[in-house]
């Protein structure tokens, strides 16, 4: 909740980003359709803020992150980072831009090369991108370890000798090696135990203050998102259905899906048990292969109207930051 550092300047602008995966079938591998993992997503991220993307599995939140880094090639749209359009850059220019954008993953086991020591893992970005002497490099590696709360005695160990929380710290240290401006955190604490989760969340916040970082925080856990975010976007089936400041989303949600999500979270307070107004959605998230016509959410929506089946709602601005795609707000 480090809101003090947010500047007004935009660091990242995403415009109408689409990432469709082709579905190949048949003998010749012809394309028979596409999965619209991300289908027209637009948002901006300001310098120094934590922008969260929240949604259920299959909503496309991770694909947004991977598309910004071009680890997954987007189909169309614009990603403007520091006034440069990431999607138009060639391989060489991309390499330069990527130094400023790093990523932290959920699976701490597969995010570190099991055959490399911690020293090798942390040196790698420096070897590739910085010309520095071996001594300088070693110094920097130790500095990175200290930054994430580990010590030099960990240098010559392998990833499997660490606990999940420690491995995540190493993943964070690696992301910090090149002094990035933006870090995409893809479910960084979802695989961790509660007591370790809070250690990592606090670490991320401390680092943000110290190193003036900007985060895109991708998560399915609403409590964590509420804790760490400045602004939040809620995604459903490839589209952002609601976006706004944290307080707006969590205290005054407008979209029925956001309301349902919030009311679904079990709260660790037995006194609230029967006092909360709960919306329990029926059914499952439809397949992104063929999302329902009109508003994607209409099949599960308790407030469905006729026009919801016909047209996808356009955004309605509730406040300067807060916009919602729902026909309920049309009038």
């Amino acid at each position: 909740m480090a809101q003090t550092l947010v500047e007004q300047e935009d660091l990242l602008v995403v415009k109408d980003l689409k990432t469709h995966y082709p579905i190949r079938n048949g003998l010749l591998g012809g394309q028979t359709g596409s999965i619209k993992a991300v289908d027209g997503v637009s948002f901006t991220v300001k310098k120094g803020e934590t922008f969260s993307i929240v949604g259920e599995s299959g909503c496309g939140k991770s694909t947004v992150g991977m598309s910004i880094l071009r680890l997954t090639e987007p189909t169309s749209g614009e990603v403007i980072f520091n006034d440069k359009n990431v999607l138009e850059k060639n391989k060489h220019e991309l390499k330069a831009i990527r130094r400023d954008m790093q990523v932290i993953f959920q699976d701490t086991y597969s995010s570190l090369n099991p055959k490399h020591t911690i020293k090798k893992i942390l040196s790698e970005p420096l070897v590739i991108n910085r010309k520095m002497t071996k001594e300088k490099r070693e110094e920097r590696v130790i500095e990175l370890l200290r930054l994430v709360g580990l010590g030099p005695h960990h240098l010559n160990r392998f990833p499997h000798e660490f606990s999940g929380g420690q491995r995540q710290r190493i993943g964070i240290a690696r992301a910090l090696a090149l002094n990035p401006k933006l870090i995409i955190c893809d479910e960084p604490v979802s695989a961790l135990d509660v007591s370790i989760q809070s250690q990592i969340l606090n670490l991320l916040e401390d680092l943000q203050q110290k190193l003036k970082l900007t985060y895109i925080f991708i998560s399915h856990d609403l409590s964590v998102v509420e804790h760490i975010s400045d602004r939040v976007a809620v995604m459903y089936l490839g589209k952002i259905v609601e976006m706004g400041k944290r307080e707006e989303i969590f205290n005054h949600p407008q979209h029925p899906y956001t309301k349902a999500l919030l009311s679904s979270v079990p709260i660790a307070d037995p006194k609230l048990k029967n006092k909360r107004e709960r919306i329990i959605l029926k059914g499952d998230v439809p397949s992104p292969k063929n999302p329902p016509k009109g508003c994607h959410f209409h099949a599960r929506c308790p407030f469905k109207m006729e026009k919801c089946e016909e047209a996808y709602p356009s955004y309605v601005h509730v406040s300067s930051e807060h916009r919602v795609a729902c026909h309920l707000l049309d009038s």
């Binding site: 909740m1 259920e56 599995s57 606990s163 929380g165 420690q166 135990d193 509660v194 007591s195 370790i196 989760q197 809070s198 250690q199 969340l201 606090n202 916040e205 399915h220 609403l222 409590s223 964590v224 509420e226 804790h227 760490i228 944290r246 969590f250 349902a260 999500l261 919030l262 009311s263 679904s264 979270v265 079990p266 709260i267 660790a268 307070d269 037995p270 006194k271 609230l272 048990k273 709960r278 329990i280 959605l281 029926k282 059914g283 499952d284 998230v285």
Partner: protein, 320 residues
């Protein structure tokens, strides 16, 4: 309320000569119709406790001593064959990952029928009727159709419903739910938790809810047992537990999880990590991570003490 299940001084661990304790003096009872939570982080022994009750411990882990009594009948001395009679019929269990718990090469109908065939002498006709009935009980949309479906054709939430339907097929007295919603999305989790509570009330079934999520505990259970490093550290009614946790670990867990609608500047942190079973700390097992630890905590292991009628705590410095 009558006592249904009683676990007494249960000790279990790895190996024999080079014994490593994984469960240490587990003591608790489950009453008829109540939902009891077993809470803790990974490696605390909560799933191991459930598997001991089911008689499904991995081969390398053995019960060293202790009793598990279901309505007065000792379970630990039963053979696998005798346990098969009890599993599914008296006690049923559902797991975290419904995809791996279902056999991918049989239809849902086949798998429910399997349970019924084993424990009842229904005819084929009755089995089908009963299968549809249990699928209806778990609010499965068009149950007749779903009998012909294979597990991979269903979503995660639907598969968990099938698991619950199979567990319920023979009206077990106790349902053990091992992290039943951890692999599911929030909106689906809400559906499943609601279903479990509904079924508990409908059939007056006892539930042992194994979870790491305090939110799930608060919403579905009446009593809770907190485990740490193979031991019970606290037991209490859910209201009292959340009102006033007595063990520093319980308190730490509650403070370190971000809670919806109550954002804080900074999360509380429990330093360090869960100890390795090879390398258990002397004295209180939580002492190296405890902010209130004193000399005594490092030297002597505290007993699990009864503090009032329904509360037990294992701590030298209870947060009274």
């Amino acid at each position: 309320m009558t006592t249904l299940l009683e676990v007494k001084n249960l000790n279990a661990g790895l190996g024999e000569g080079d014994y490593r304790s994984l469960l240490d003096q587990i003591n608790f009872t489950v009453k008829k119709g109540e939902a009891i939570a077993v809470v803790g982080e990974s490696g605390c022994g909560k799933s191991m406790t459930a598997l001991s009750i089911m008689g499904l411990l991995p081969r390398n882990i053995k019960i060293k001593s202790g009793e598990i009594k279901l309505e007065g009948v000792e379970l630990t001395s039963k053979s696998q064959k005798e346990m098969n009679e009890i599993r599914g019929k008296e006690i049923a269990m559902i797991f975290q990952e419904p995809l791996t718990s279902l056999n991918p090469s049989f239809t849902i109908g086949n798998q429910i029928a399997e349970v019924l065939k084993y424990h009842t002498d229904y005819t084929a006709e009755q089995i089908k009727e009963k299968s549809i009935e249990v699928l209806k009980q778990v609010n499965m949309p068009d149950p007749e159709e779903k009998l012909k479906a294979y597990p991979h054709e269903l979503s995660g939430g639907m598969r968990q419903r099938v698991m619950i339907a199979m567990a319920l097929a023979c009206h077990p007295k106790i349902l053990i739910a091992d992290e039943p919603t951890t692999a599911l999305d929030v909106t689906i989790q809400a559906q499943i938790l609601e279903l479990i509570t509904e079924l508990q009330n409908k059939f007056n079934m006892s539930i042992i809810m194994i979870t790491h999520d305090l939110g799930v505990v608060a919403e579905t259970c009446q009593r809770a047992i907190v485990m740490y490093a193979g031991q019970i550290v606290e037991e209490s009614s859910v209201e009292e537990l959340f009102e006033k946790p007595l063990h520093p670990y319980t308190r730490g867990l509650m403070l370190s999880a971000p809670r919806l609608g109550n954002p804080k500047e900074k999360l509380h942190v429990i330093e360090g990590t869960v100890p390795d079973p090879d390398d258990m700390p002397k004295g209180c097992r939580f002492s190296p991570r405890c902010e209130f630890a004193t000399e005594k905590c490092f030297a002597e292991e505290p007993p699990l003490e009864q503090v009032d009628k329904s509360r037990r705590v294992r701590c030298w410095h209870k947060l009274l």
